[in-house]
Amino acid sequence: MDLNVERNLDSLIKSTTHKWIFVGGKGGVGKTTSSSSIAIQMALNQPSKQFLLISTDPAHNLSDAFGEKFGKDARKVTGMDNLSCMEIDPAAALKDMNDMAISSGSNGNGDDLSDLLQGGALADLTGSIPGIDEALSFMEVMKHIKRQEQGEGERFDCVIFDTAPTGHTLRFLQLPTTLAKLLDKFSEITGKLGPMLNSFMGSGNNVDITGKLNELKANVETIREQFTNPDLTTFVCVCISEFLSLYETERLIQELMSYDMDVNSIVVNQLLFAEFDKEHNCKRCQSRWKMQKKYLDQIDELYEDFHVVKMPLCAGEIRGLENLKKFSQFLLKEYDPISDNPVIYELEDKN
């Protein structure tokens, strides 16, 4: 019996159970390219399903990767019927929330709080709070779950997250646990002071704080259960074959395991495979490839029960849908440096 783990993401790409796929790693290793590639392959291999690719990185790249503009609302990728992209913008999201709050609560009194909100001042203030991006991404996740449960709006079968560099992502993934603890504390307080708090907020405000908190708590608990279910959620680590990246990947994997999150795939990008490239293998490439190979052997030893996918460094930038399709095929079928070598030189210029 062959106990070797496949060196591709075939099982993930063709998975019918996964609803949340996180793609993360150190900065500059190819997270956006990898997450876009995974999303494209999943969409191509499961045409009957709808997929959503969300960027939670404040420095969004999805628009640049696909060569078209995406915004805070999900929009289909040109050329694909079942793949949409979204870039969460904290400032815009907060302004929307403010506008909604004002329109639902406005009673023309012109009190100070309404004036403050109307000016969008609150959005400016809160938009720069550290961690706000993670909080807003999390709210987006909660919105999707709610829509799925209620059968409202556009429904996506699987959401792929192009995450921010490691630290931000870990904070994002801790949110369910952190929020659950916070909400427990709040529930205790509102249980004792609820009616008093309601009266502080004004007679025109009919918000039931306890009810809202309980609803939020239930949603957060649902998300926590989903994120820790290996059939529903998985994390794909992206790295390059260098010490710092690998060390960060190891730290990321250990941290994810402590959150009970499933992680069993590693994508190693920017590999040179110089010894197999007869035409283009300068001294520098040979030297770098030797260094990369040294770490590749270590990766194979350390992560023997992981899907370790080795992706080549291409001659050009991987931008645009066609280039991404060409590149992403190696997630499904292991890259052969001899037979697949011409592909990395076939990338079209994307202006």
Binding site: F243, Q254, K294, Q298, E301, L302
Partner: protein
């Protein structure tokens, strides 16, 4: 009877003072006792600590870049050991803390409370009579012994030449006696501490300013 009360009180005071003077060694004694009673946990802790040191030394002796896999595996073991050591440390400390609590309860039950009860119970018992009989003036002793009538009869007795000895036996109760004893001991302690164990503070020298 009085002697036995005094002997018991002296014994209890001596034991209390001994415990007070050796207070700073109690932690060490209790820790040593705790280590003996938790020998299994202590052995495990020491063995894991040794393993941790070995792994740290090994990691320092190899190149992380050249032996990344081994270095990372060692780091994984180190992370695991750190958690285990912390748990064992908490367990040992908790056992030690429990032992300290038991010691304090034992001290309370076998020494402090009995001594307190003993003082209340025997507090009014006379343990000592003042040695002289003329501690107080004749008239006052007479009034104590015979009442106010003594004041009226004293001149008559003097005229009639009757000499009556009005000695009053003045007794000291156990409660007062033990209070006085502990105060004297406390004052002697302060004196010895001040004379022998307090560092001399030199008077500051005032330098002349031009």
């Amino acid at each position: 009877m009085a002697n036995s009360v005094v002997i018991i009180a002296l014994f209890l005071v001596a034991v209390t003072k001994f415990i007070d003077y050796t207070a700073k060694y109690h932690s060490n004694w209790l820790m040593a006792l705790s280590l003996k009673t938790n020998s299994k946990d202590t052995r495990e802790y020491n063995s894991k600590l040794r393993k941790q040191r070995q792994l740290i030394e090994e990691n320092h002796s190899i190149s992380a870049q050249d032996n990344y896999a081994k270095w990372t595996k060692n780091n994984r073991q180190l992370d695991k050991l750190k958690i285990e050591l912390s748990e064992l440390d908490s367990k040992i400390k908790l056992n030690s803390k429990n032992l300290h609590a038991i010691f304090h309860k034992l001290k309370l039950i076998t020494l402090t409370l009995p001594f307190f009860v003993f003082k209340i119970w025997k507090g009014k018992e006379i343990v000592y009579y003042l040695p002289t009989n003329d501690t107080f003036p004749y008239l006052i002793s007479g009034v104590w012994n015979n009442g106010w009538l003594h004041l009226v009869l004293t001149p008559l007795n003097y005229i009639l030449g009757r000499q009556t000895s009005m000695s009053t036996k003045v007794g000291v109760s156990f409660g007062i006696w033990i209070w006085a004893l502990t105060n004297v001991i406390s004052n002697i302690e302060s004196l010895i501490k001040f004379l022998l164990f307090t560092e001399k503070i030199e008077a500051p020298k005032v330098t002349s300013q031009k």
